[in-house]
């Protein structure tokens, strides 16, 4: 029906890049024009993505659409640039372009008057282009190029307010931490090229299916996995994501909640044929994801910074998605990725609206009773939180339920229980936040005001998406999502009433507990903090992981640096200085032979002649010739 849109799919990537180039080269002196251009470009990309998705979903396109073009050719390594469009890509296209469009519109209000307004939109554009290129890539080489480009955009946007020391450090931290993962990813990609001779996804899928050397496959899978662990901020490379909240809040919403951090999950889904070939790696993925989900959720329980709570929540939900991948529920993981993108960007944008309204304050204890002054922000935030907590029939409920169902029916009882516990914690910490910030008994903030429509309208649209996006994967629509985002040999589990009931009850219990503690104050949370001060301190300090890394860095990096410094100073410099001293010393001694007396020099000459003649006489005349 919209088959012609596939021919134009390359424009989806190119438009934001063109906007970036135009803003960067010519328009940076006209902030309004830059913003219009950027929003126009992403808007057109969104329109095209909708057409592509419509073609894929409505037309029931089963085969994939692929075009490819040689980009880099050298002996032993051929990298193509191409487009690969199937159900998975279509979903990601919609998610990325719609959230990016709404975030860019919202930024118009949020970033208003910022001196870097133009460059902000330029960075947003380059991010959108890179992310779309990543999603549309048909081979690992292209994916890696765009993978690094989104990392660059993330770095630029985290450090957007680079005048602030913390923002600058956070940007560097994010970049370095990601490099650790990307190093593994690059090695994995090179291994794939060496072993299979191709980087193309469909080509690899055929090769991997017939490959029998499990040990090598495990090594390659683990190396590839390092990329998602870094980009999707899984334990132990999760440390950069909470710090990345130093960037402007719309950036946190788009890059560090909805899209870029989901790129790791997307990579696992795209290369699912490699990971699923070895059960050991799948188990590792599931354990890493499950652990990160629980680990981050516990930290989120006690944080006081509104954006940090959301950041740890993002970590936790990413862990959920990765866990879903690991237990083989790839469809459920991607479904959760999609719904999460909507409600988490909604939560971040609403949090941004709050921060914007009360002059940059981020401590939840300094807020309170904002619901009277900011009704739209409050209620959209509540919708997002309900979706995140998994209250039926909001989007998060359906996707989270799919994952829990996958774990339960797939026989992963431990991970199922863990997931349910995390769901409880999620509901609790989100509503702790809500009751403290928007309701609560606090006196409230006098100067708070509702944000302008340019910010609230994206919130409302996202709130609508947060409510309805889940239906596409629900039994109500006959699991439409699973028909398009799937993989060979996918098992579909029938919905279990017990799983649904338990996860809903757990979410409601979490909300109820938060209500009892923070709204009604039947239990004094300060006394609780006193009683469990040990655990509280541990959680509040994020299990001291940052400190541990810092200590290790001190020990190993600084220690090595010190040893090398010593080597440089005493050995390298010593050699050079020693040579110089030798020359100087010899000169000091030998200069006494230069007396200025012509006759002394004549005597030297005579001595020289005698020595030469003596040698000639002793060695014979052959020496002369």
């Amino acid at each position: 029906m919209f088959a012609w849109s596939l021919e134009l799919a390359w424009l989806i990537v190119l438009l934001p890049f063109a906007a970036f180039a135009l803003i960067g080269l010519f328009l940076h002196r006209w902030p309004r024009l830059s913003a219009y251009l950027s929003i126009l470009a992403i808007g057109l990309s969104f329109g095209l993505s909708v057409l592509v998705a419509a073609h894929v979903f409505l037309g029931g396109m089963q085969e994939t659409f692929e075009v490819s073009m040689r980009w880099l050719a050298m002996p032993g390594l051929n990298v193509d640039m191409g487009l690969l469009i199937d159900g998975l890509t279509a979903v990601m296209l919609i998610v990325v372009t719609s959230v990016a469009l709404l975030v860019q519109i919202y930024s118009w209000g949020y970033m208003h008057g910022d001196p870097g307004f133009s460059s902000y939109y330029a960075y947003q554009s380059v991010f959108a282009g890179a992310m779309l290129g990543l999603v549309l890539a048909n081979n690992f080489g292209q994916l890696f190029v765009f993978w690094e480009l989104v990392g660059l955009a993330s770095y630029l946007l985290i450090g957007f307010w680079f005048g602030r020391h913390s923002a600058k450090n956070a940007a560097v931290k994010a970049f370095i931490t990601n490099r650790v993962g990307d190093f593994g990813l690059l090695l994995g990609i090179l291994f794939l090229q060496i072993i299979f001779g191709t980087l193309n996804f469909s080509g690899l899928a055929a090769e991997v299916a017939g490959y029998t050397n499990t040990a090598i496959l495990i090594v390659v899978s683990i190396l590839l996995l390092a990329g998602p662990i870094g980009k999707s901020a899984q334990f132990p490379l999760h440390v950069w994501l909470p710090d990345a909240m130093e960037g402007p809040t719309p950036v946190s919403a788009l890059i560090h909640a909805a899209t870029m951090v989901a790129a790791g999950v997307y990579l696992i889904a795209r290369a699912f044929f490699i990971f699923s070939a070895t059960p050991e790696v799948m188990m590792l993925i599931a354990v890493i994801g499950g652990f990160t989900a629980l680990f981050a959720a516990t930290i989120a329980l006690v944080q006081n910074d509104i954006k940090r709570i959301l950041a740890y929540s993002t970590l936790s939900q990413l862990g959920y998605m990765v866990m879903a991948m690991g237990i083989g529920a790839m469809t459920a993981g991607m479904f959760h990725l999609m719904t999460h993108a909507f409600f988490k960007s909604l939560l971040f944008l609403a949090a941004g609206s709050v921060i914007h309204a009360i002059a940059g304050e981020q401590d939840i204890w300094k807020m309170g009773r904002l619901k009277d002054k900011m009704p739209i922000t409050t209620w959209t935030f509540v919708i997002g939180a309900l979706a995140l907590a998994g209250i039926p029939p909001l989007s998060g409920f359906w996707s989270k339920d799919e994952i829990l169902l996958g774990a339960f029916a797939g026989g992963y009882t431990g991970l199922y229980l863990l997931g349910t516990l995390v769901a409880f914690m999620t509901a609790f910490y989100m509503f702790r936040l809500i009751f403290v910030v928007f309701f609560g008994s606090g006196k409230g903030v006098e100067k708070a005001h509702e944000s302008p429509p340019v910010m609230t309208i994206p919130l409302i649209i996202l709130a609508v998406m947060a409510v309805i996006a889940g239906f596409v994967g629900s039994p109500l629509m006959d699991y439409a999502f699973a028909r398009f985002v799937t993989y060979p040999g996918a098992v579909h589990y029938e919905a279990s009433t017990m799983v649904i009931a338990i996860s809903s009850l757990v979410a409601i219990a979490g909300i109820g507990l938060a209500w009892a503690i923070y709204q009604k104050e039947w239990i004094n949370h300060l006394q609780m903090r006193e009683r469990f001060s040990g655990i509280y301190t541990l959680l509040y300090n994020k299990y001291y992981i940052d400190e541990l890394y810092h200590w290790l860095g001190q020990r190993f990096v600084y220690g090595t640096a010190k040893a090398l410094f010593w080597f440089d100073i005493y050995v390298v410099n010593g050699l050079v200085n020693g040579l110089a001293a030798l020359t100087g010393g010899a000169g000091k001694v030998l200069r006494y032979t230069e007396t200025g007396q012509v006759q002394t020099y004549a005597a030297y000459m005579l001595a020289g002649v005698i020595v030469i003649v003596g040698l000639v006489v002793l060695a014979g005349f052959a020496l002369l010739i």
Partner: protein
């Protein structure tokens, strides 16, 4: 009978005396004279070798003539230098000419 060896011996003795003079005399004029002595011993060698070894050509004698001419020029320049230095230093002793040193 005076033979080839005698000429060589005489030349060697003259050369040694010249070297001794160059290295030990403090008077610059005496050093110049010693250099002349060394040159003359060389001339003697040239002529003797021409007479006893290369008898069909007069190369040695010609070379001796060249050396004599060059030596005359050298003495002219050398004496001019010495006079010039003497005007500066009121001395012809080489002990006083040791500015070019460490």
């Amino acid at each position: 009978m005076i033979g080839f060896q005698h000429y060589l011996l005489l030349a060697t003795i003259l050369f040694a005396i010249g070297i001794y003079g160059v290295l030990s005399k403090r008077n610059a004029v005496a050093v110049l004279m010693s250099v002349e002595l060394m040159l003359n011993s060389v001339n003697l060698n040239f002529v003797a070798i021409n007479r006893y070894i290369v008898t069909d050509q007069a190369v040695g004698q010609l070379f001796a003539l060249i050396v004599i001419v060059v030596a005359a020029a050298e003495v002219a320049v050398g004496l001019a230098l010495i006079i010039s230095i003497f005007r500066q230093r009121k001395s012809v002793s080489l002990n006083d000419f040791n500015l070019l040193k460490w």
